[in-house]
Assembly symmetry: C2
C-alpha cells in the first residue's frame, strides 16, 4: 500500500524521526515522507514512531487504498512518480 507520513514533532526529535522514516520511505519535503510499504512494515513504522516521539508530538500516517495524483506547486524537493 502507499502511505504518506507527515510529522509535527519537537525540534529535539526531528532528526531521529527523519532517520527512522528514511529506512522505510522516501523523503518528499520537510516533515513529509511517502512510499510503498506492506502491513508488517506499517506496524513496524507505527511502533517505532510511538517509541521515538513524545505525547505532544503529532504524526499522521495516511494509508491510501486507491489511486492518487500529486500536484506540485513551486519547487519539488524530491521528485517522485506523481500519478499512481
Amino acid at each position: 500500500m502507499h502511505v504518506i507520513v507527515v510529522y509535527d514533532v519537537d525540534k529535539k526529535r526531528v532528526v531521529k524521526v527523519h532517520d527512522f522514516l528514511a529506512r522505510y520511505l522516501c523523503w518528499r519535503q520537510n516533515s513529509v515522507f511517502e512510499g510503498e510499504i506492506d502491513y508488517r512494515q506499517l506496524e513496524e513504522v507505527k511502533k517505532g514512531l510511538s517509541k521515538l516521539i513524545d505525547s505532544d508530538d503529532s504524526v499522521l500516517i495516511y494509508e491510501l487504498s486507491g489511486k492518487f495524483k500529486v500536484h506540485v506547486i513551486g519547487h519539488e524537493r524530491n521528485p517522485q512518480e506523481n500519478i499512481i
Copy 2:
C-alpha cells in the same frame, strides 16, 4: 474529491499560505491541510498558491480518488473523521 496539502515554505509566507488554505480546507497540523473540494476549487487553490509562494517554496497537493485511512501517532492536533 479528498485532498491533503503539505507545504514547506519560507517563514515569511507561512501565515499567508495558512490563511489562504483555511478558506478551503481543515488545518490538521503544522503545514498540513486536508478536506473535500471539487475540481473548480482545486484549480483555485493551485492558482492562489502559485501567486502566494516563491519558486523555492514547495507545496504538494495529494488528490485522492480512493479510500484512505489515517493512523495517528501521538497527539492529534485537529481530530477529523479518519476513515473515509
